[in-house]
């Protein structure tokens, strides 16, 4: 872990405090919107553990996201509060099991083949819920009562409360950020990025590349499952679209826009993508066309993601990453 400088510490603290008191400052609608951004940001950060740090471009992370959502709704009693302590481990556990199978089979391939195999697995899960009655088919399922965390009779957390839900989403996003950041600082993280940078050398140094990638893939799926669980709880509804490649691709756009080399980059990507959609929907009827053009422009103009935008405008100067410093050093030399 790069030791945080004092200035970064202060900025980080300010961001967390601002995020935490947000519900007191803005109308409910924006609190819900912020929770949505945080959930999609968690999904995108989770995906980036595989894509950016593992070098594994997965197109089935929406399937993990949706699977956990379905697991919550299917496990929930119809008219009673589902227990968070029961349903969350169940949903994430189900995701982990499926990710293990998908990972074992797809991690034998590389590059574009890996993308195609994960896409195929994602679509299989999509059609499993779309074409069979287990999850209400193409209509999806409703979750009538939101999960609660109760201790005896005392309700500690009620996800049906928008502010509580927002704070839980904030904790999930912050926790995901911290966990990935921590992981990258460990020997496991070294092994993962070494395998991404040069698989042959990693193997020749004794790193069990397949196992390392499988663990990272499953962890990344588990975090995507956490996001999917929260998403189902937020909208009280799951549909097969939650598992489809369309959402996988959107998450990938968030990752690419936010930049793959920083843990929090995809969170910023999620804010831009979701915010753009929100604004364009409001003003333009054919918003998807404009949205597409803007995304293309952003990718073309800032191929390194939003990090590059920050760097180009001088905002990113103070905390240049080692990789950037290295690039600059080389340009000089």
């Amino acid at each position: 872990m790069q030791p945080l400088s004092t200035r970064t510490h202060i900025a980080l603290l300010a961001a967390v405090v601002a995020a935490a008191i947000l519900p007191a400052l803005v109308p409910d609608y924006y609190v819900q919107f912020a929770a949505k951004v945080l959930i999609l940001g968690t999904l995108a950060m989770a995906l980036n553990l595989a894509v950016g740090f593992g070098g594994l471009v997965s197109l089935c992370h929406a399937a993990f996201f949706g699977l956990a959502g379905y697991a919550l709704v299917l496990a929930a009693p119809e008219y009673d509060e589902p227990s968070l302590l029961l349903t969350l481990p169940l949903a994430v556990g189900a995701t982990v099991l499926v990710a293990l199978v998908v990972g074992v089979l797809s991690l034998r391939t590389r590059g574009v083949y890996f993308i195609m195999v994960t896409l195929a697995f994602g679509e299989m899960l999509f059609f499993l819920f779309h074409d069979t009655p287990i999850g209400g088919g193409s209509d999806g399922l409703f979750l009538y009562v939101k999960p609660v965390l109760a201790f005896g009779e005392t309700i500690l957390l009620d996800l049906g409360n928008p502010v509580t839900f927002y704070l839980v989403s904030l904790a999930a996003a912050a926790g995901t950020w911290w966990l990935i950041r921590h992981l990258l600082s460990t020997p496991f993280g070294d092994a993962l990025t070494a395998a991404r940078d040069n698989e042959r050398r990693a193997l020749a140094l004794g790193i069990p590349v397949f196992r390392v990638r499988l663990i990272a893939f499953v962890l990344s799926a588990a975090l995507a499952g956490l996001a999917g669980y929260l998403s189902a709880a937020q909208f009280g509804f799951v549909a097969p679209q939650m598992l489809g490649w369309h959402l996988s691709a959107t998450a990938l756009v968030m990752v690419v826009l936010g930049g793959t080399r920083r843990v929090a980059g995809p969170l910023a990507g999620a804010l831009v993508v979701t915010g753009l959609e929100e604004v364009l929907k409001y003003f333009i009827d054919d918003w998807k066309l404009v949205y597409g053009l803007i995304v293309i422009a952003l990718v073309l103009l800032a191929p390194g993601g939003l990090q590059d935008v920050a760097r180009l405008t001088g905002l990113g100067r103070r905390a240049g990453t080692p990789a950037l410093k290295l690039k600059e050093a080389n340009n000089v030399g």
């Binding site: 600082s185 460990t186 020749a204 004794g206 069990p208 590349v209 663990i215 050093a329 030399g333």
Partner: protein
């Protein structure tokens, strides 16, 4: 033989109908440099890839310190004590010299995949990485990004990475390729110094270097061993002179 670090018996590799390597038997003892020479396409690189686990043999057995490693993958062979360099320098160019060595030292030690401790703070890994850099003479370049070093230094770094994995056997695939005269001489000296406590298998085209540092020599042609023995014996071998050295001396 008891002093053998590596023993290969009847090693063969077919790619479809092509036998890149067949019936190759050789051994590397502790404390020796065993050089493998031969014209292009003789199967030398295939042999190294078979020994390192990058390729799986179609025939034969590989014993490392008496243990059968024939079916192990490259990562397991490395953890078992086989380290290798590649013909094309294979390092992590975006990282610093120290980080390259640290990754190597960490990967073969207990806790290689630990998810708890901070990888950059482990003192045993740090010391092993610095010792490996010192052994190749790069201790002063620890903080340099690997990509901004010269070709020769990058090759030295690759050797340091191999050493940091604490190998019993070091496989070097044309370590002098593309080096200038001074660099090559330094590398030759380095290779000669590595053999204490280890076995070295060297594939190299530079005959001066081979004759200077090899204790034993194996000559390959068309995927087979045509001669093997001490450097002097092989140099006198008429088959070798005809097949290989004769041409080389004509060129020189």
């Amino acid at each position: 033989m008891s002093g053998d670090v590596l023993e290969a018996r009847g090693l063969g590799k077919r790619f479809g109908g092509l036998a890149a390597c067949s019936g190759v038997s050789l051994s590397v003892r502790e404390g020796e440099v065993h050089a493998v020479i031969g014209p292009n396409g003789a199967g030398k690189s295939t042999l190294i890839n078979l020994l390192s686990g990058d390729l799986r043999p179609t025939d034969g057995t590989i014993l490392l310190d008496g243990r059968d490693v024939t079916v192990s993958g490259p990562d397991r062979r490395c953890r078992g004590g086989i380290g290798r360099s590649y013909q094309k320098t294979t390092i992590f160019p975006e990282r610093t010299v120290f980080d390259n060595a640290r990754l190597a030292a960490q990967a073969t030690r207990p806790g290689a995949l630990a998810m708890r401790c901070d990888g950059k703070r482990r003192s045993d890994v740090r010391e092993a990485a610095l010792a490996a850099l010192a052994e190749v003479g790069l201790e002063g370049r620890a903080d340099t990004p690997a990509r901004s070093m010269s070709h020769g230094e990058q090759r030295q770094l690759e050797v340091a990475m191999v050493l940091a994995t604490a190998p019993r056997l070091v496989l070097l695939d044309e370590p002098l390729a593309g080096m200038g005269h001074a660099e090559a001489r330094r590398m030759t000296g380095l290779i000669a110094s590595l053999k204490a406590g280890r076995g070295i298998l060297l594939v190299e085209h530079d005959m001066d270097a081979v004759f200077a540092i090899a204790d034993r020599l194996t000559v390959m042609a068309d995927g087979k061993v045509i001669a093997s023995g001490t450097v002097d014996a092989v140099r006198r071998d008429p088959v070798v002179r005809a097949a290989y050295l004769g041409e080389a001396e004509d060129v020189a």
